[in-house]
């Protein structure tokens, strides 16, 4: 199994929003997320018993296309299970994600690493805002399988050409004494990249490798909030 790139987390402190964070796998794959909420909601999108959770994605260049809409929908379905939305009905939680790495214009694109970075940045921004109750932290990582059967966790950009299968996995991780396995799968997307096929054991293998690797991402997230190893009694971040 290949080793993943160093994780870079920073809280830029965008001035006009409630929370923001930047997450990167190395410096080649990074995203910036900002969260505002609970704020005023448009009448058309108001929900009577829960908050409306709205996600937008902005690519690095060009106007947002259908791909950005699809990424926003994916991020939304990955993060929605971790948010307790019925505490703030008739409000809006607005998440805007800006990608900081370019995507190739033509040819087959490997965007799973970027999607993982976007999901992680979103989780960090929500935690940074601290205004939305959450069940756990959603952490994501991309996994690929090379021609020879080698499983690469968080493959580097220049190795993505060798991959025959690949995908992104997101897990909701929560600390708790009574939880047997503390990560639950919330988003999976595994497919062949060069027109082959795969079987169930391969995807199960990849998912377990991702589950293992996500622990590292979670640990990095935690340590970015607790400087110097001191324990932080902020209860609203994790609710089990």
């Amino acid at each position: 199994m290949g080793s993943s790139r160093p994780i870079e987390i920073s809280f830029d402190g965008l001035a006009r929003v409630d929370g923001s964070a930047r997450f990167g796998f190395g410096d080649a794959t990074a995203a910036l997320a900002s969260v505002s909420g609970p704020i005023e909601v448009r009448l058309a999108s108001e929900l009577p018993s829960q908050a409306t959770f709205d996600v937008s994605v902005r690519p690095l260049s060009n106007v947002p296309s259908t791909e950005s809409k699809s990424q926003a929908s994916s991020i939304r379905s990955a993060l929605a299970p971790s948010l307790i939305l019925n505490k703030n009905p008739r409000t809006l939680i607005q998440l805007v994600v800006q990608t900081l790495s370019p995507t190739p214009i033509s040819g087959p694109k490997w965007t799973d690493g970027l999607l993982g970075a976007m999901i992680n940045a979103s989780t960090l921004a929500l935690l940074n805002a601290g205004s939305v109750p959450m069940r756990g932290a959603v952490c994501a990582i991309a996994v690929g399988k090379a021609q020879g059967g080698e499983l690469l966790v968080d493959p580097e950009e220049d190795r993505t050409d060798e991959l025959v299968q690949g995908g992104c996995f997101a897990f909701m991780v929560a600390d708790g004494a009574r939880l047997g396995s503390n990560s639950t799968s919330v988003w999976t997307n595994w497919r062949t990249l060069k027109g082959g096929t795969f079987n169930e054991t391969e995807i199960a293998e990849a998912r377990e490798a991702a589950r293992d690797a996500v622990k590292r991402v979670y640990a990095a997230m935690k340590s970015s909030f607790l400087p110097g190893g001191a324990s932080d009694p902020d209860e609203e971040k994790m609710e089990t």
Partner: protein
Amino acid sequence: MAYAAPIQPTAPTGLSPQENEALQASIFQRLHPRAYLERFLAEGFRPDGRTLEGWRDVSVNTGSISTADGSALVRLGNTTVVCGVKAEIAEPELDAGNRGFLVPNLDLPAMCSPRFKPGPPADDAQVLSDRLNEALIASNILPLESLCIQPNKSVWVLYVDATCINYDGNAFDATLLAMVAALKNTRLPKTTYDELTKRTICSRKAERIPLDIKRTPVSASFGIFDSNRILSDPTAFEEPLLDTTLTVLLDNSTRELISVSQFGLGSASTDALGSCIQAAKKRWGESKDRIQL
């Protein structure tokens, strides 16, 4: 009134007891959709009479649009999707001189369901179009090199446009089937590139050539209700109540997996992905013969 309605204080006159019951049931469905679905699932059935793992009937009709280069009409229960393929000629990209273009698109107009309003494509249509594009790329249905007429000068662009004319849930499966059927039905004219005049000439008389379809992908979609019930092929009534969507893409001839995706929390009790993969293989194993395109 011979029949006393227990729920409503005044029952509508002029209806038979059966009609009255049906009216009350549909009022309950409108006001409390979640409870309505829960009651059915507790008995092991869904509102349309299927079991939890039941599938709706599929019918495919190809070649009905004579002005398109290829076309198909698919009915998945009540969900109806029409797909047409139009071919145009274009210059290829600079760094991919011998590859053509495959541009799939799905339109969900206001006509197919009250939840879609007239105007620019809504989020649902855009997300589905992007997912269909990824599904066609992952399955490698058509090597783009086969769409090349003259390297670096002239290639085919295939616009695969699907329109939903009746939406009853699971547009993804129906549209993928329609797109694949339309591509298999497509016949392109014989073309040559004339170096002298730098023009591409299509022959009107010569017989048209079918596309070089390498693989036929088929898909099976599921939803998870209440974190533990897996419903296959959700209808438009069930879809808003499902927190999670799972889609499995298979190769029609070998039934091997091409892509698996899960959007949302998995099932608390079982391995949702594993059981959905089994169900998908079973589904396309049985009706493989019916979908001969």
